[in-house]
Each structure stands twice: as C-alpha cells, then as structure tokens.
C-alpha cells in the first residue's frame, strides 16, 4: 500500500445499546464509553462472543436477514459443485451457486465475495475477542472465561478451515489464504496469501487450546465443545494428508467418547435427523441452532424444498440422477441401472423400497409422499399433473421437468411459519460424519482394521443397511468409505470438500469430464430443460473459488486463484 498516511485505531470509543432495533447505539455522550468498556463487563463478553458466532449463520447485509449467502450455514448448497446435485437458478438463489455450477461466474460475482467477507468477518470478530478476553479473567467466572476463550479459538479455526477449503485447498502445493491473527491496522492489512502450512499452524494452536478449555459436550446447544474442537483438529490433519496424526486424533475422539459421561451416539432414525422432531439428538457434535423466527432460522428449507411446502420452496438445489442411481440396493448390492415403468405407481414404489432407505429419507422421488402446506399429503408426480387422487400432485419449482427433489432439511406441514427462516438445525459436525472421518483416517494411515469396519458398521446399521463384508485391501475400503460418505451425508455440504481432500488440484486423476461434467438428467434419463443454467462445464479452475475481484483490486499482493484471470 502506498499511502501510509492513514492510521486507524481500534476502538476509540464505542457502546452498544441492547434494545435498539436498528443496532446503532450511542445516544448517550460518546466521550464516556469506549470499546475498552465494551470488553470490561461480563455482559459485554457475552455480547462479543455471541457476535463471534454470528457470521457462521448469517451475516446480515444491511438490515436484510434474508441473505445468508456465503456463510457456513449455506455450505450445503455447495454440494451442487459435485455430480450429486445441481443448482438451478431462481431469483432466490442468493448464494449464486448456479453461476459456479455452469461456470459463468466472473471474479466479481457474489458467490466469491460473500464467503470471503463472511469468513473474514468471523476471523476479525474472533481476533478482537481474543485481544480483549485475556484482560477479563478477573471479571468473568473461571468456567465462563474458559468457555469463552475456547469457543472463540474454535470459531477462528472454523473460519480459516472454511477459507482454506474454498479459496485454496489444504495441501502443501495449494496457494493458501491471507492470515491475520490480530485485527490489523490499515497499513498492515494488505498481505499476500499465507501458505496452508502457516494457516494450519494457527488452526492447530487454536483447536488445541479450544479442546483444553471446553467441556466434552456443549453447555448450551449451538456452542462449541471439546469434541467439536478435536474433530476439527482431526480434519485439519486429514485434509493436509497427515493421516497418522489424523488417525491419532480421531482415535482419541472415539475412545474419549466411550468413556464420556454423556457420549455422542447415532440417532436411531436417520430420516428424522433432518426434521424438527429429530433435532435434539445425541448425534450433533457442532450444530447451527436454528429457530423459526425472523433472522434466526435456516435458509436451506427455501433452497431445498418445493412449491407444495408451506415455505413455497424453490428447489434451487436439486439432487441429480447420478446421486439417486449411486445409492445401493437395500441388500447392499450395487444398483444395476434397471428402471421401472415410471408411470406405474406400484412398480416405482417397489423399486425404491428395494434401495438404501437413506435414498427415500434424503430425496423425494416419483410417487414419494410429502406432507406439505396445511398438512396436506402430496405425491410427487413429475411433470406436474392436476389429478387429486390418491393424492394431490406435489409441485416442484421446475414442474414441467422430471427432476428429483430434496427431502432433507424440508419442513413438513406448517412447521415453518416464517418463510426463509426455517427452524431445522444445520449440523456442521455430526457423529456419523466423525465415524466416517475416523474410518478414513485409520484406513489411510494403516489400512483396514477392525476399528475401521466397526465404524462403518455403526453407520450402516443405523441406516438399516447390511454391514459391509470385512474384506478388501486398503484401496477397496477407501472406496467403501468414500461411497458411504455420499449415502450418509448427501446434501449437507461435505461433498465438494471431500473431493478436495481426496484429490489434488494438480492431480491429473481428477478428471472433470467424468466426475462433474455430465448433463443434468431427470429420473427418466431425459435432460432437464435448464432455462437459467447450462450443463455443468467445469474446468480445472473450479477446484477452488476465485478471490473476489474487489479484493484483488485493492491488494496487489494477492495472487488470483489459478484459471480465474487477472
């Protein structure tokens, strides 16, 4: 930066009025209350720590809580960057994922800037809290002090993990992201990317400290905890390809859980995990708590659900035929590609009854039932028809097409009274994911073993699927685990990052042609009439996001992601 003439000081003075609707504070004399005061009372610490969480869910743009674009809470939409889902444009897709899907996005698009801004807002809120909390040791109860410090350390690592995942990749050869461990002053803000290794060092320190200070389970739902910190630590190692350390950390997590007074466990009913009634379960390790009030809910309902739902969803993300065909048969064998007569209700229902139950739990397929607005039971028939018997026809937002629809994260009946602010929680880390990460780390580190199969079995049994045979070499088991992640976690925002972990940007094995660039088909094999998008046309650049153009414009030290122009 050339002009060294500006000097920005943090908090000259600031106050917060809690009851104010508009947020802007300060109607009392400004010279008496400074930001130093912000971090002096216990109440201020409550505010600052809750503030550090806020960019996880929804950074409000202006006063608009409708737009959670780019936040970790919207990551589920990024499954559309894999062959298992697709983002179909509607005006409601604030995430802008469709432009990445059809590769028409330029570096100025919101899909790139929103996440950048949301994550770095989180990073700087954490930095401010970490600057100030240590001075409050005498003000806060010891337990509260430890919790707060632990939570903020966890959050900063979570934001950096998300930044590395989308803007860089976690491996040595990836470019990294700019690193700030304290809020910089203006002159020091213009930094180049730090290497993934440098960012990782900060994440590891943060997570180790968080694990040290936090209790095993959250003291309040939605808070960070020791288990979440250790799981994220394991992921940091796993994504970096340090399988030995990852296996060690995950093994520690699993054995500590066995000894814990309140252990995490798989919830008995897979389908209910993604509904209001299954929300409070022992499977959630780190969850984004959502309630159906204005500004405090989840946007996924609107983006995933259909027109017959009370929220009048927009099917912005649709599960693809590739995903549906990928699910195994109920007996654990591979689906052979045979199709029923799609007009024959009984044949179609029999067909899907013969598949992994997680298919029906995750996806609304032809003749699938859905309890929609006013508790009316709809049957999905696509294209839409006007028959009412035996059920009215469920209408997808692309009703002349034969696409599948998501069932995950869709409210039933009139559960969502405020559209776009769904009360269904968003799991960021859940125990099934932990078991699969554990299996992956151990298998990569030392090959198949009883622990690996035990972990897989638990996930399979809960899904009411037969357990896997305990044979196969490391490569075969690797594939088993990878496939299981798709069956178990589809639609939850893990799949794009998984690919990034399993392959490398420089990896010629990652063949976009076969992995992503298929045309988007309906259940009947007919290409969907995509009015706002084209077929997926990924090139190597789609491995990661572009750095937002506005950032490149002001910071000449930044090097744009490969393939995104200059």
């Amino acid at each position: 930066m050339k002009n060294k003439i500006f000097r920005f000081f943090l908090p000259a003075a600031a106050i917060l009025i809690l009851g104010a609707c508009k947020g802007f504070l300060d109607t009392t004399p400004e010279d008496g209350i400074g930001s130093l005061e912000m971090w002096t009372t216990a109440e201020h610490a409550d505010l600052g720590v809750a503030g550090a969480y806020s960019p996880v869910k929804c950074f409000q743009i202006g006063s608009d809580p409708y737009n959670p674009a780019g936040c970790i809470s919207s990551n589920a939409m990024t499954d559309t960057y894999t062959k298992y889902a697709f983002a179909w444009g509607t005006g409601f897709d604030d995430t802008g994922c469709r432009y990445f899907c059809n590769n028409s996005a330029t570096t100025g698009y919101g899909v790139f800037s929103n996440k950048w801004l949301a994550d770095y807002t989180g990073v700087q809120y954490c930095n401010l809290a970490l600057d100030n909390l240590p001075r409050m040791q005498n003000v806060l109860k010891e337990e509260v002090y430890n919790n707060y410090l632990g939570e903020v350390h966890f959050l900063r690592a979570l934001y950096y993990f998300d930044l590395l995942t989308f803007y860089s990749g976690h491996k040595t050869q990836d470019p990294g992201v700019p690193l700030y461990t304290a809020m910089p002053d203006y002159d020091n803000a213009y930094r180049p990317r730090s290497t993934p290794a440098d960012v990782r060092r900060v994440m590891i320190e943060d997570l180790e400290e968080a694990a040290e200070r936090l209790p095993w389970r959250s003291y309040e739902k939605g808070r960070a905890n020791r288990c979440a910190a250790l799981v994220l630590l394991g992921k940091v190692y796993l994504y970096a390809g340090n399988f030995a350390r990852a296996a060690e950390v995950f093994s520690g997590v699993v054995s500590e859980n066995d000894r814990a007074a309140e252990p995490y466990s798989l919830y008995s009913n897979y389908a209910e995990l993604f509904l209001q009634k299954g929300e409070d379960n022992d499977e959630s390790v780190f969850v984004i708590d959502c309630v159906n009030t204005y500004g405090n809910g989840s946007r996924l309902d609107l983006l995933y659900s259909n027109r017959s739902a009370n929220c009048a969803g927009t099917n912005t993300s649709i599960p693809t035929k590739e995903l549906v065909d990928f699910y195994l048969n109920a007996d654990g064998t591979k689906y052979d590609g045979s199709t029923p007569d799609w007009t024959n209700r009984d044949a179609v229902n029999r067909f899907f009854a013969g598949r992994d139950p997680r298919l029906d739990a995750s996806i609304i397929r032809p003749f699938g039932l859905f309890v929609g607005k006013d508790n009316v039971t709809y049957e999905y028939r696509a294209p839409y028809d006007s028959k009412t018997s035996p059920y009215a026809c469920l209408r997808s937002n692309h009703s002349s097409n034969t696409n599948y629809c998501w069932r995950k994260f869709c409210n039933q009946g009139n559960e969502t009274t405020i559209r776009r602010h769904s009360g269904i929680d968003i799991p960021v880390i859940r125990w099934a994911d932990v078991l699969l990460l554990y299996a992956e780390a151990v298998n990569e580190s030392s090959g198949p073993s009883a622990e690996v199969f035990d972990a897989l079995d638990k996930v399979r049994r809960r899904a009411k699927m037969p357990v896997v045979s305990r044979q196969g070499d490391q490569a075969a088991v690797r594939q088993l685990i990878r496939d299981e992640r798709v069956y178990e976690l589809a639609g939850e925002g893990h799949l794009y990052a998984d690919w990034q972990r399993w392959f490398a940007h420089s990896d010629n094995d990652f063949d976009y042609e076969s992995l992503t660039n298929q045309s988007i088909l309906g259940y009947d094999g007919v290409p969907l009439a995509l009015t706002q998008v084209s077929v997926r046309n990924f090139t190597r650049r789609n491995w990661r996001y572009a750095i937002p153009q506005s950032e490149i414009d002001v910071n000449p030290a930044l090097v744009q992601s490969e393939g995104w122009g200059n």
Binding site: L16, M38, R191, E220, N296
Partner: protein
C-alpha cells in the same frame, strides 16, 4: 477606445473548509449481531465499521482571474474568467480489503481534485428600424477535473466507472469491442491460444480487444484486465445561447443550452441484446446480428448472455453530448389604448419548455442518465395575462 464604458480586471483567492461527514466518524461502532443458543436468539455485538481518528476538514482553494467589459453604451457586455479550484483532503470512504470482514470503510482525507477551466459570457443588445429590439447572449464554459491524489495505483470502482489518480473523476473503464464473432474467427483465436472470460464467445457475440502485447501478463487472455479508461462521466463543455426580440407589442425569446464531452453507459432491460420475458426493448435491436444479418454491429439477441456481451464494454458507452431548446416564448401585448381604462395590460403568449433535443445519445434523455430514468418533460403553455 472611445466607446468603452467599463473595463474591469478581477482577481480573487479564497479558501473554504467543509465538514462533509456526519458526526462521530472518528469512533468505532458496535452493532447488534444475533445468534441462537439453546433455541433462543440472543444478542451479540460486532463492529460494523473501521474508523479513522485523524480526520480533518476538507478544504477548497479557489483562484480566479476575470475580466468584465462593457462597451457601446452598454449594448455589448463581456465577462470572462479563468479559474482553478483545488479541493484537498477530500473525505472519501477508502477502499478497505475484505479481510477486515464486511465492514464499512472509514472516511479518510484521501483525495485531492483539481477543477480547472474558463467561463465566458458575451451579450449584445440593440435596436434597428426604430422599433425592432433584439438581444443575443451566449455563454460557454470549459471545465476539466482531474484526480491529483487518491490511493496511489489503487482504484475504486463504481459500476463501469473508475476513480484513479491522474484521471478524471469516475471516468469510464470498459473493454473495447473489436468485432462481432464469427465461428471461423472464434475457432482461429482458440487455436491461437486465446482464453475468454466470462466465457468463450459464440457467433454473434462481441470479441474484445486484447490490450496486452506479447510478453505482457494477460496476453491472449480476454478478460476484465483488458478494460481501458475511455470517456468522462462529467461534461467538459457547457454552453448556452439566448435570443430575444421585440417589435411593437410582439415579444419573442428562445434559449438553447447544452453540454459536450460526456459519455453515458446505456445498458438496461430496455437497451440490451438480452431478451427477457415481458420486457420491452429498443427497436434498434431488431437489427441485431443473426446468421441472416452477419454485417450487424449489434450483438446477437439471446436469453442467456452470461455476461459475454454485457460485460462492461464500449458498445454500451455513448456520447451523451446534447443541445436542447429549453425555452421558447412568443407573446403579444395589446396596445393600451385598446384596453384602457379598465385593463392596464393584457398579454397573450405561448411558452414551450424542453422542446427540442439534438443528440446522438439513444437513451430517453441524455440529461437524465440511463435509459430507464424518466425523461424531462416537455411543456406547452398558452396563456392570457391580464392586469387590472
């Protein structure tokens, strides 16, 4: 110079201060940020802006040298000025990098802008044939603005416009259209190693000029790096002409005014090659490129442009210079002898406002920005004015 009535040479210098921002701009503010724990939305707090605690006032220094002249018994009047207006320490919201988060940028005394130019006005009034009165008055000014200091090499952007040291305030910054693509040309360029952003053109799309030469970064990459500064968003020339005449009871006046040296970016739902359901577009686009109309300079109509033709480019940048007939008045005052003693004065008149516009700009009104803005109205008034 026997007929010179008045000659005055003027010079002035002044300096003004201006506090152009609201109060408390030197303070860091915390805003409410909500999060949910245990099913309850709880208040949180996060900063919303970065502040600068060393703000000072803007200052404007104005230097002016002028000449006033009056001659021929006041029939000729002339006034001319050369001015230099230097505004320093301009309070600008600096660009801050996004690594601060979604924060409002602070005000800084970052800018220095010079406006230099000249103004001249000349008028003549006279009488011929005893009772034919006439007057002519013309004015002209020329102003050039230049950003002397802003953020070094770092620019700010506002849509298609750029704020950068050494250039005019918010000059346009656009790609230059080279030609309309043919399949043959696209194939040739692709084979030649060209890369296109946002995506490879299709026949009928624009091909933009590659501004880089061999060996330079960005060579054979057609993207926003090929934008150039082109066209001012503020006019350089302002001019006006007023004519009036009278003969017996008849009075007549008309006034023209106009500007030149300004461009407008015209690309809206009404002026575009992108057809949307239910939108009305300019009939010019009937002449768009198509396989049957390969000579057209207008890009092919499409429902899905993907930014290939609507990327900021000079096709949409138009010269918005204009001359307008602002006012025309024709009146007749009845002789007093016809109307007295009951009526002291009676006049009928016609006035038209905003009657004619001469411009090459294709939007609705060159004075009024983009195509969708409501144009200035034309008004026709027929009036009778009676004074008792």
């Amino acid at each position: 110079m026997p007929r010179l009535d008045n000659l005055k040479l003027r010079a002035s210098w002044g300096k003004l201060g201006n506090n152009a921002v609201g109060d408390y701009a030197t303070q860091l503010m915390y805003e409410r940020r909500t999060y949910v724990f245990d099913g309850n939305a709880v208040p949180g707090a996060g900063i919303s802006a970065i502040v600068n605690d060393v703000l000072t006032w803007e200052s404007t220094t104005m230097t002016n040298i002028g000449l006033d002249l009056s001659a021929f018994k006041g029939r000729l009047n002339l006034s001319a000025d050369v001015f230099d207006k230097l505004t320093d320490d301009i309070l600008i919201r600096a660009s801050i990098p996004g690594v601060f988060g979604r924060l409002e940028a602070p005000y800084t005394n970052a800018g220095k802008v010079r406006n230099r130019g000249l103004e001249a006005e000349v008028s003549w009034k006279g009488t011929v044939w005893n009772d034919f009165r006439y007057g002519v008055s013309a004015n002209y000014s020329f102003v050039r603005n230049k950003v002397l200091k802003y953020q070094g090499d770092v620019a700010s952007y506002s849509g298609q416009r750029i704020l950068l040291e050494g250039y005019g305030i918010y000059d346009y910054y656009v790609r230059e259209v080279d030609c309309i693509a043919t399949q043959e040309k696209i194939d040739r360029m692709l084979a030649d190693g060209y890369v296109f952003y946002p995506s490879t053109p299709q026949p009928g799309d624009f091909i933009y000029k590659d501004q880089q030469k061999e060996g330079e970064v960005g060579y054979k990459i057609i993207d926003d790096g090929d934008r150039v500064i082109k066209g001012h968003s503020y006019p350089s020339h302002f001019f006006g002409l007023t004519l009036n005449a009278g003969w017996k009871g008849i009075d007549f006046s008309m006034m023209f005014s106009g500007v030149a040296g300004i461009s407008q970016y015209l690309n809206s739902t009404w002026y575009t090659n992108v057809v949307r359901n239910g939108s009305v577009i300019n009939k010019k686009f009937l002449g768009a490129w198509s396989p049957d109309n390969p000579g057209s300079k207008i890009p092919a109509l499409t429902t899905n442009d993907g930014g290939r033709n609507t990327a900021n480019n000079d096709f949409w940048l138009q010269d918005a210079s204009y001359v307008k007939l602002r006012n025309l008045t024709l009146g007749y005052t009845f002789p007093e002898k016809w109307t007295s003693p009951f009526i002291s004065r009676a006049r009928i008149y016609f006035t038209g406002e905003n009657l004619l516009t001469f411009t090459r700009f294709e939007g609705l009104d060159p004075e009024n920005g983009s195509a969708s803005n409501y144009p200035n109205m034309s008004r026709y008034i027929f009036g009778v004015s009676i004074t008792f």
